[in-house]
């Protein structure tokens, strides 16, 4: 274990890895500052650039970009009253009032330091959990992995908001997309319709570029928003005041970070729910609650610490079980697959050094984000407007050239275009894109585990393997939970009606 910790750190101490981390964080902050583009778009655009480099350098680029967007998203919430992403909503409650009071730099400083401390706590949690999770992983076999993959998809469809059926349909579509091409077991071409191009299957990075980046650019183009702007207010605060505030409220940072770990481990929770939960927790556990909503710096510290710790928490199920808790973790899994690394038992046994490299990337990435954020906060506090529409043609061009560059084939540009339309329609009609990519990522696990389970244990493996049976029961309970809840609420309302209430 100690060897893995040290070799993980040393693997990052190469010029390429450090440079990629720096580029990733800077790029992530830039993308995060632009409203309408989030961590997922930032990571998607980087996927074509991740071929042919060292594993640690590639992960530093991707995860660094994601961590950079955590703070970048806060900037528009705090300065412009426009959340850069759903998770930045809670920052508007106190961050923007602080800007109106001439304390914008203080808010940005507190935000940057909170992300740093929360991220470090999340990384420590991940490192501590690994020795406990490893023995559990070794108990699991193909039947358990199959059930876990199915349970992961069901959990996310149930809890991630929107219709349960639409979530599951999106996951099923994702599974079918992954099945296009040669069946690895029997070498049968599936759903290729005679096309030689489709024999290699649909490239996951190209599909992601379409579903997330191209679809988001179409949405931005349709919105035709004017540049967001604000009246500049004289800012007499400093970044260091924000840093001091964070350390003065260290108890709040720790509590919020623990909440962030919990939210990160749970699938399907994220977005604005996590930030608001952190804010609610801050109000409940703090003195002088009446100051919240009027420019209280604690209203900035709590959500940011939660978001920072979320990274470490979210990586645990992703690395240990190969079950992504959300779209950004699913994109990380796609990157792993591109590099030939399979999350799960192999990750925690043969590639433990890569796991600890990820832990170090979170720590270094958060430090770099905080340092860069604090350095540019005085400049950002003087920015009168942001025009994300300038990025639309640039991002589209990067998308298509990147899609072409993955395999050097023009057909991939057509695929990216088709997935762009699919991604837009999914957003419009509220089918979960996160479930789509989770279905794509887990399809390989499902097929491989099913074949091996049937070979080793026969068709009744669900009932002969106790852990698999328990997980199967959990799948059924999770799928039935919405109907049970609806029925319980209906009965409660009937009782109230009978009571004349």
């Amino acid at each position: 274990m100690l060897d893995a910790i040290v070799s993980g750190f040393l693997a990052l101490m190469t010029l390429q890895a450090l440079m990629f981390l720096f580029i990733g964080v800077a790029y992530g902050i830039f993308i995060g500052v632009m409203p309408g583009l989030g961590g997922v778009v930032a990571m998607t655009l980087l996927l074509p650039f991740t071929f042919g480099y060292e594993v640690e350098a590639t992960l530093a680029l991707l995860l660094g970009a994601h961590i950079g967007t955590l703070w970048g998203d806060s900037v528009t919430s705090i300065l412009f009253n426009v959340p850069g992403a759903a998770k930045g909503l809670a920052l508007v409650f106190d961050g923007y009032p602080m800007t109106l009071q001439g304390k914008g730099k203080r808010a940005l400083g507190a935000s940057a330091m909170s992300v740093l401390l929360g991220g470090v706590i999340g990384a420590i949690f991940l490192a501590i959990c690994i020795p406990f999770v490893r023995p559990l992983i070794l108990l699991l076999g193909p039947p358990e992995y199959l059930m876990m993959a199915l349970w992961g998809m069901t959990l996310i469809a149930t809890f991630s908001g929107g219709s349960l059926f639409k979530g599951l349909i999106a996951a099923v579509i994702g599974v079918f997309i992954a099945l296009i091409g040669m069946d690895p077991v029997t070498a049968t071409p599936r759903y290729t319709f005679g096309s030689i191009f489709l024999l290699d299957g649909v490239s996951f990075p190209v599909a992601m570029i379409g579903v997330f980046a191209i679809a988001e650019m179409m949405k931005l183009h349709l919105a035709k928003d004017t540049a967001i702007s604000r009246k500049l207010i004289v800012d007499n605060s400093t970044v260091f005041e924000g840093i001091r505030d964070t350390f003065q409220n260290w108890g709040l940072v720790v509590r919020s970070s623990i909440l962030g770990l919990w939210i990160g481990v749970l699938p399907g929770v994220g977005g604005s729910a996590g930030g608001i939960a952190a804010y609610a927790q801050a109000i409940q556990t703090s003195k002088n609650q009446e100051n919240f909503g009027k420019g209280d710096v604690r209203g900035v510290i709590a959500p940011e610490a939660t978001l920072g710790a979320n990274e470490g928490g979210g990586l645990l199920p992703t690395l240990a079980f190969g079950i992504p808790g959300g779209d950004s973790m699913a994109l990380l899994l796609i990157a792993f697959m591109n590099m030939g690394i399979a999350p799960g038992p192999a990750m925690l046994t043969e590639h433990l050094d890569i796991v600890f490299a990820l832990v170090w990337i979170i720590v270094l990435g958060c430090i770099l984000t905080a340092v860069m954020g604090m350095a540019i906060s005085p400049l950002l506090a003087r920015m009168p407007s942001l025009n994300e529409n300038l990025l639309i043609p640039i991002v589209l061009c990067v998308c298509f050239v990147g899609a072409y560059a993955t395999r050097g084939r023009f057909e991939d540009i057509i695929v990216a275009t088709a997935f762009g339309a699919i991604g837009y329609l999914m957003e419009k009609y509220e089918y979960s894109r996160a479930n789509l990519i989770i279905g794509m990522v887990l399809a390989t696990v499902i097929e491989r585990s099913l074949h091996v389970s049937l070979t080793l244990h026969g068709p009744g493996f669900i009932f002969t393997q106790p852990i698999a049976f328990v997980m199967f029961s959990l799948i059924v309970i999770t799928a039935v939970l919405p109907f049970l809840r609806k029925s319980r609420n209906g009965r409660a309302q009937e009782i109230l009606k009978q009571g004349g209430i």
Binding site: I276, P393, C397, F483
Partner: protein
């Protein structure tokens, strides 16, 4: 076309796709169809259930708030109630407008994307990026012609250096490249 009709058409389209996938799956060997066949059946059942729910039980929500399960929903509800005007304003700014765009507007967005694809096919990536970026920024009046051209050509140069030089990718020269090359040689 009302929202419900659109949703029904989407669901019916998905049903048709899953049925086609089911039929295609039956033509594969037993091991090759071991996963696709049951998944297609599950997809068909889910779409039928979705069609039923969205037409006859649309008032019933089937999603579960995980915060409610862990007991944190009341605290979150208090915060959401306190900041309701802010949350409503933000929701109106983003995400709730997709349903309000007309078919013509959406067609224009698709056309923009297809225009770029056509440029890439005909001219090749580097010229297409320069021309499309310049044209988009100028015609949408985001910046002046000169700034648009500067951004466009900078973007093209960046992509050429990154993909063509650093990553060593051979960038497709486009359908017109042989004709332009021949013209230059003759000239």
């Amino acid at each position: 076309m009302s929202r419900r009709v659109q949703e029904n058409l989407i669901s019916l389209g998905l049903l048709g796709i899953f049925i086609c996938l089911l039929i295609a799956s039956t033509q594969y060997g037993p091991r090759a169809r071991m996963v696709p066949l049951p998944i297609a059946c599950i997809g068909i059942v889910l779409v039928i259930a979705q069609l039923y729910w969205q037409n006859f039980r649309q008032a019933d929500e089937l999603n579960v708030d995980l915060m409610e399960v862990v007991g944190a929903d009341r605290k979150i509800a208090e915060v959401e109630e306190k900041f309701a005007p802010v949350i409503v304003e933000v929701a109106l700014q983003k995400g709730q407008r997709l349903a309000s765009y007309t078919f013509r507007q959406e067609l224009a967005a698709y056309a923009m994307v297809l225009a770029l694809v056509a440029c890439l096919l005909v001219l090749g990536p580097v010229p297409a990026v320069a021309i499309f970026t310049t044209g988009y920024l100028s015609f949408s009046k985001q910046t002046t012609w000169l700034k648009s051209a500067l951004i466009g050509f900078s973007c093209a140069a960046f992509l050429y250096v990154t993909f063509g030089y650093s990553l060593g990718q051979t960038l497709n020269h486009g359908l017109l490249a042989p004709f332009i090359g021949r013209y230059i040689v003759n000239f």
